[in-house]
């Protein structure tokens, strides 16, 4: 350990900081296409992920058209409907949310926020993106393969996933899906190693772990979780691919297909469910933890207030990360498990609510008596808190076995996880894009278009998903292509479904405003300067905006303080950047809650 005096007199000489040898691109291709610069890779990741997101959005439209107006669109038959469901779910969860938070924001923000020049393994980082792109291409290719994409549902449960009754089961669909997932996992592992090791090894002088912005904490924890959880999906995918291609019986029980007994027996579909959810539940938090981190920074910056309970926030992130590995079977309450088993998993599930509640509490206390600026990023951050609480509350219902069993196959579940895992993280992604776009491009996104985008998206999402809870409580099943006129289906259900569909179409179309804004502001946005939000974290202190290759010019930054020095009494401005030496706070206790 070394004592580093951090007062104005004894600032650390930047020469003491060991610099790294950077890779320097020589041509246009190595600079913008096969680039090893984390910032370029981040933009590539984000662009591909957002494009996949648009495809998945259109798929959700098609599903909604069928549900809202059954029978009107003849090309959406039962098979197509299941294919849309499957591809929408898998694309959104894995290829959009995971890729965007870790590959997109992780790549852009980690090196800048910890004060590094780049990721520690730039070449592997580049490979990570191209392998991700390959995974996306393989996945999209299944739309054009004979038989179309798989329609097994995004959970790909065997045995139905590889039988001929399921679209793509005995054709190319399921093979391409499993192959694509395996490729994605290999690519992600390469990226994930980078994110984790960069945080561990490449932090600037003075950037202790407890001075890192919560965004970095969130992405770091989530990357580590993803590295350990994705292998479970990989194992499941390998074994199912063997079942499908080589006739093994890992998951395949004795089964009769189209009146013919198959040559398989003894396999355990439950085994797949265990493997899938051992990945699947941590995956929820792999998406949520970066969102938690980003939202903490947005709230603190736009409320000009230090984050309340920083230590608790870090501890809660770590606790959620660890606990998320012991709750997976709460997705399997209806699989006929031992009741004691269900009791155990209900307990761990409810325990996770404690660290999560701590985070919500801290966000609210950060806002308390803050100087709240209702900028577009702040609007999205506030909307996230409300939406996450809403989705979390229904999670308490579904986490209990007795409540989950009757609700499990209804639209209630769809509403719950779209609130908590769909809308909430997407709101953070939008907020984060509005927040960091000026750093990426040097121009602000248009504010009026941003507010329009926010209000339609936020209110629209509630108009879509609130009524869906009601449909679920009515007993309307999910996974059904056409609910027809069963006796329990009242006319109001049909009206409500049509209403939801119309709102979904409008909200979806409004996303085009956002896409337009992204491109329009590139040239016509107001120039932002280096630090438009007057934020403290290192990425806003780069000598140039957008930051060039190597980020920091000649000298690496030195960190003198934590990431949340807003409204410090006695300071000249209402924020103190992390790399600003000097200025002691007069009465710290009076500022920090």
């Amino acid at each position: 350990m070394v004592d580093v005096p951090l007062g104005p007199a004894g600032a650390v000489a930047p020469a003491d900081v060991e610099d790294v040898e950077l890779y320097h691109p020589h041509s246009w291709v190595t600079k913008y296409v096969f680039s090893q610069d984390a910032k370029v890779i981040a933009i590539q990741y984000s662009f591909v992920a957002l494009s996949v997101g648009l495809i998945a959005l259109v798929l959700s439209w098609l599903m909604r058209l069928q549900l809202g107006f059954p029978g009107v669109f003849s090309f959406i038959d039962a098979n197509a409907y299941y294919q849309f469901i499957t591809m929408h779910g898998m694309m959104m969860v894995v290829y959009v949310l995971t890729a965007l938070f870790l590959g997109g924001f992780g790549n852009y923000l980690i090196p800048l926020m910890v004060g590094a020049r780049d990721m520690v393994f730039p070449y592997v980082n580049m490979l990570s993106f191209w392998i991700y792109l390959l995974a996306v291409l393989v996945l999209v290719a299944s739309f054009f393969a004979p038989g179309g994409p798989t329609g097994a549902g995004w959970t790909l449960y065997p045995p139905q996933a590889i039988l001929s009754g399921t679209p793509g089961g005995q054709e190319w669909g399921i093979i391409l899906m499993l192959a694509s997932l395996m490729i994605f996992i290999i690519g992600f592992t390469m990226g994930g190693l980078n994110y984790v090791v960069t945080v561990l090894q490449a932090r600037a002088r003075g950037m202790t772990l407890m001075r890192m912005p919560l965004t970095v904490w969130g992405i770091f924890t989530a990357s580590f979780m993803a590295l350990l959880a994705f292998p479970a999906l990989f194992v499941g995918a390998v074994m199912m691919l063997f079942d499908r291609l080589f006739g093994t019986s890992f998951f395949m029980p004795a089964i009769v297909e189209m009146g013919q007994p198959l040559e398989r027996n003894g396999g355990s579909p439950l085994l797949f469910q265990h493997l899938f959810w051992f990945f699947g539940h941590p995956e929820v938090y792999i998406v949520a933890l970066p969102a938690f981190g980003i939202v903490s920074d947005l709230i603190s910056t736009h409320a000009r207030r230090n984050i309340f309970g920083y230590r608790m926030m870090v501890w809660a992130l770590l606790a959620i990360g660890a606990l998320s590995f012991v709750v997976w079977a709460h997705h399997m309450y209806v699989s006929g498990m031992n009741p004691y088993f269900g009791f155990f998993f209900a307990t761990t599930t409810l325990i996770i609510a404690i660290p999560t509640a701590i985070k919500v509490y801290n966000w609210i206390l950060t806002l308390w008596r803050g100087n709240i600026h209702l900028t577009v990023p702040m609007l999205f951050a506030l909307a996230f808190i409300v939406t996450f609480v809403n989705g979390g509350l229904t999670g308490l219902f579904l986490g209990n076995v007795v409540v989950d069993v009757p609700l499990s196959d209804t639209m209630f579940v769809v509403a719950h996880f779209h609130m908590v895992m769909g809308v909430a993280p997407i709101l953070v992604i939008f907020g984060a894009i509005y927040h960091w776009y000026p750093k990426v491009t040097g121009r602000m996104l248009n504010d009026t278009l941003g507010k329009l985008h926010f209000w339609v998206t936020f209110l629209g999402a509630y108009l879509i998903f609130f009524p869906m809870h009601y449909l679920g409580l009515m007993g309307i099943p999910r996974r059904y292509h056409d609910i027809a006129d069963m006796s329990f289906v009242t006319p109001s259900v049909h009206t409500l479904n049509a209403f939801i569909t119309i709102v979904a179409l409008v909200v979806g179309a409004t996303q085009l405003v956002f896409v337009f804004n992204l491109f329009w502001s590139l040239r016509h946005g107001t120039p932002s300067g280096g630090n438009p939000w007057r934020a403290t974290t290192l990425e806003w202190q780069t000598p140039e905006t957008p930051p060039p290759h190597g980020n920091w010019g000649k000298e690496l930054p030195v960190v003198y303080r934590w990431a949340y020095d807003y409204s410090v009494p006695g300071a000249d401005q209402d924020f103190l950047p992390q790399n600003q030496p000097g200025l002691t706070r007069t009465a710290p206790g009076s500022v920090h809650g």
Partner: protein, 232 residues
């Protein structure tokens, strides 16, 4: 799933121990303007940390395969297959490979180039011998009628050995590049890191192989039984 949970608990202990030394209880909001104790800049090269994290990922993959194995073998259609005798020879080969790399690592530290080259080459050859032996074991089993699809025990045998072999193959790419470098360079210093990384990876794969072998031969069965009882 007890195996993977056990593996993750060990990782969690390591992570917890490491985090406990990182000042997680400090109050960063009170720190500025005074003398702050910073941890000494880490001297571990990033690639070593990277390999460490990768081993955690690979370990998680292997532990999950073993978890799946343990769950599947409880079902009534499981017929354990006889372990081909050649596996013992293969084990010796992999041990030799691992020892040779260990020797190469020590040679690199002492600066002895000839010993380093011999060590690397011996490790490469014995690793290739291991892989050929594994292929022979596959052929032997296939010839005896233990086909991939005929029983889950067979399927797991092929999958586990295959996954392990693929990881070794990946290691051989790195080893091949190190060997090529060893013949280009005259000093051992530029090679030291690569050799150390290869050695660590090889020891890890040898350890994994021992675990797999104990699982496939059924020695681990008793342990798995205990794990299962703990879980239920």
């Amino acid at each position: 799933m007890a195996n993977i949970l056990l593996f993750l608990s060990i990782l969690a202990l390591i992570a917890g121990w490491w985090l406990s030394r990182q000042g997680l209880a400090s109050k960063p909001w009170l720190e500025q303007g005074t003398t702050v104790t910073l941890p000494e800049a880490s001297t571990t090269p990033p690639s070593k940390v990277g390999l460490g994290v990768f081993l955690a990922v690979a370990g998680s993959l292997f532990a999950l395969f073993i978890s799946a194995y343990a769950m599947r073998m409880q079902l009534p259609d499981w017929r354990t297959l006889p372990v081909p005798g050649i596996l013992w020879l293969n084990t010796v080969m992999l041990l030799l490979s691992s020892l040779a790399l260990h020797g190469a690592r020590n040679a690199a530290r002492r600066g002895e180039m000839p010993a380093l080259r011999i060590g690397l080459l011996a490790a490469g050859i014995s690793a290739l011998a291991f892989l050929s032996g594994q292929l022979l074991a596959w052929r032997q089993l296939t010839a005896e009628g233990y086909l991939l699809a005929s029983n889950p025990a067979n399927a797991f045998f092929y999958v586990l050995t295959g996954v392990h072999g693929l990881h070794l193959l990946g290691g051989l790419v790195a080893l091949g590049r190190t060997i090529a470098k060893a013949w280009r360079e005259t000093a051992t210093e530029p090679l030291r890191l690569s050799v150390e990384l290869c050695a660590t990876y090889w020891h890890f794969l040898f350890l994994v192989w021992l675990v797999f072998l104990s699982v496939l031969t059924g020695w681990a069965g008793e342990l798995i039984d205990i794990c299962r009882q703990v879980l239920t």
